[in-house]
């Protein structure tokens, strides 16, 4: 067998092909996905195959593989991913998570936005949809979907994160998506809640409002009225189209920077009051024992956090240049800095932040690093514009002696073994 230049060509092994074609970091990202639990196995990474024996040579692409020799697929009404791309959400019993290691930039494709529901996804007919706002208001009103869309609109890029989004019992075989599955970023379009507050004439003595969904749980949360005057949205758009059913179609509340459960989906009712309603989701759940027997309630804001999405398990990297990539976010505002450690936490240096850095949205960070092939661990640590520093697990455990599953945001890292295999840097949780 000979290539175009007459040099004998051996069938290219998958490993060599990848290493040559894409470089260490990308190679292992695609390659190690084979047989992955999320079903993202991309076979031979989408590169053309040839011959019945599965062999392929560089100079010998078949007619079918040579895309310059035929007309491509025609136009269509609805686009779809390349058949070679097959990202999947991480499935859990009650949630599905965003596969961060398969994504670029800061926007989560809508069909990969994480989901968590308390009674499944209702099928809401937009023609029958209405939103009732009542209670301590001058004029209780009912809005149809068309009414809501007529109001002045805004579009903002915001992350959303479930309050319970940290694997305390993670093993080395934990993927980036499993370290922080329940967070995603979208561009949300809707009417500022403050506009509707003016429309109904919220009374000055109103201090809280109940937001209630029309799912089987009729899920309700009490929200301080200030959030409505500040930046809460009544959202109907997500990444340029209508909300996904999993995200509350046709209308949801969106509280930027706050724990996901407060952004009530399939919103049907808002009631203004002068006290919180003490629903089950703000008493029995979404409250966290912290220390000395105390339980924190109405802990809305999501603290700053970061996640290295590459390298990560189950990649295999090679010595040389590696771009460490990841996302950082803070419910308090903009990310100010993301520090990276390439020596298992001894020293730290700031990563590059991709502009624009938006408040309460994912910020993409990158750090170019030449790996010398010796075992180490890489870590990231976010600092937000308020000066809040993402804690280490030790700092976190010292601050909250009681265990709960909510509002965990410690730093995390990836161990890189001398053979190039990358595993989750496990941490002790007392």
């Amino acid at each position: 067998m000979a290539g175009a230049d007459g040099v004998p060509i051996k069938p290219i092994s998958r490993r060599r092909l990848l290493a040559g074609a894409a470089g260490a970091t990308l190679a292992s990202l695609a390659g190690a996905g084979a047989g992955d639990a999320d079903g993202s196995d991309q076979g031979e990474t989408g590169l053309p195959r040839s011959g019945a024996d599965g062999q392929q040579t560089a100079g010998q692409a078949t007619d079918a593989a040579d895309t310059t020799k035929s007309i491509g697929r025609p136009i269509s009404e609805l686009g779809s991913r390349s058949p070679h791309e097959n990202p999947r959400r991480v499935l859990r019993t009650t949630s599905s998570g965003t596969p961060h290691e398969h994504l670029h930039g800061i926007i989560t494709p809508s069909d990969l936005h994480y989901e968590r529901h308390h009674a499944g996804i209702p099928n809401v007919d937009p023609a029958n949809y209405s939103l009732l706002i009542h209670g301590m208001v001058e004029r209780p009103l009912v809005f149809t979907l068309d009414d809501i869309k007529r109001f002045p609109s805004v579009s903002q890029v915001y992350f959303l994160e479930c309050a319970g989004n940290f694997p305390t019992r993670a093993t080395e075989e934990t993927r980036p998506a499993e370290v922080a599955p329940l967070t995603s970023t979208s561009e949300w379009t809707g009417v500022p809640l403050s506009v509707l507050f003016r429309e109904v004439g919220v009374l000055p003595e109103a201090t809280w409002f109940l937001a209630e969904g029309q799912d089987g749980a009729v899920l309700g949360r009490s929200i301080p009225v200030e959030k409505g005057w500040d930046d809460a949205l009544i959202a109907y758009g997500q990444n340029g189209e209508a909300l996904r059913p999993e995200q509350g179609y046709p209308v949801r509340l969106f509280n930027p920077g706050w724990e996901g459960n407060t952004s009530v989906k399939w919103l049907r009712r808002i009631e203004l009051s002068d006290r919180p309603f003490m629903t089950r989701e703000e008493t029995s759940r979404y409250t966290e024992p912290i220390s000395d027997g105390r339980v924190r309630q109405f802990s809305f804001v999501m603290d700053a956090r970061s996640l290295i999405t590459s390298p990560g398990y189950p990649q295999v990297v090679e010595p040389g240049w590696i771009e460490i990539r990841g996302i950082a976010w803070s419910g308090r505002g903009k990310i100010d800095r993301v520090d990276i450690s390439v020596d298992d936490g001894r020293t730290w240096a700031p990563a590059d932040l991709q502009e624009p850095v938006l408040p309460k949205a994912f910020t993409r960070f990158r750090y170019l690093w030449e790996w010398d092939g010796r075992e180490t661990a890489v870590w990231s640590r976010a600092v937000d514009e308020t000066g809040y520093v993402q804690p280490s697990a030790q700092e976190f455990i010292a601050a909250r002696t009681a265990r709960s599953s909510y509002h965990h945001n410690p730093t995390t890292g990836w161990r890189i073994r001398a053979d190039g295999s990358v595993v989750y840097r496990t941490q002790e949780w007392a």
Binding site: P140, L141, R150, S194, R198, G220, E271, A399, R400
Partner: protein, 235 residues
């Protein structure tokens, strides 16, 4: 057709301009006008502007007598959003009645009716036990009865701060597979049984509008408000 659009270019910072347009077509073909983003103008403030993508000679954009546009952001900040747009319709009492199901910690919203521990036990066995266990624990779903010595996972008797929440939640969300199917009396019965099983009321106590808000819950003293935002480090 008279269309108002917001245009902002390097040259024109006046945002809202009134544009008179002849046939607007999608001029993406070869016969569309050459894009020209440099506006001409005259001393009177009228500007002619060839907007790429609009056919004809290009719309004439007049800045005469057009009040400057104020962005929503500015209006929100300066609280000059129109007080009322007039969209939506007044909510009628029936509109509110059918959806207003919440029960507050003070008992506001509790309906007529009452419940007993006995009745609650019977209903529980039929409608709840297969998911939550025959005695309120040990089922496939949430533990509803706290261990008598307070050990083990949090549950109603050790953690829930308000008895009213029990009524509110069971009525809106349970049984999980048939939410909203219970009568108010059934919900009172189940509330009574769950409170009794958690050691919070006597076996013969009637649970209703009057008694439920007054039932003392040990969980209440645990709760503290969030204090994280005042700090720059983990709390």
């Amino acid at each position: 057709m008279r269309v108002r659009i917001a245009v902002r270019t390097r040259y024109l910072s006046l945002a809202a301009l009134t544009i008179w347009m002849g046939g607007i077509g999608c001029a993406q073909g070869a016969d569309g006008p050459a894009p020209d983003s440099s506006p001409g103008g005259d001393q009177a403030g009228r500007v002619t502007h060839n907007v790429p993508g609009f056919g004809g000679d290009g719309p004439v954009i007049s800045t005469d007598a057009v009040p400057p546009h104020v962005s929503l952001e500015t209006r929100l900040a300066s609280r000059t959003v129109p007080l009322r747009f007039g969209y939506g319709r007044p909510a009628t009492p029936p509109d509110i009645l059918v959806w207003d199901i919440d029960v507050g910690p003070d008992g506001a919203g509790l309906p007529e009716g009452s419940g007993t521990v006995d009745e609650g036990g019977a209903t529980y066995a039929v409608k709840c036990a297969h998911c939550h266990g025959p005695e309120g624990e040990g089922g496939v779903n949430d533990r509803l009865v706290a261990a008598a010595d307070g050990s083990g996972p949090r549950a109603i008797g050790t953690y829930w701060p308000y008895a009213t929440t029990l009524f509110d939640y069971v009525r809106r969300a349970m049984p999980y597979d048939r939410p909203g199917s219970l009568t108010d009396d059934e919900v009172y019965d189940l509330t009574a049984w769950l409170l009794y099983r958690n050691g919070l009321i006597a076996e013969d106590q009637l649970v209703d509008q009057g008694s439920l808000p007054g039932i003392a819950m040990p969980g209440l003293s645990l709760f503290v408000p969030d204090d994280r935002e005042a700090y720059r480090h983990v709390r």
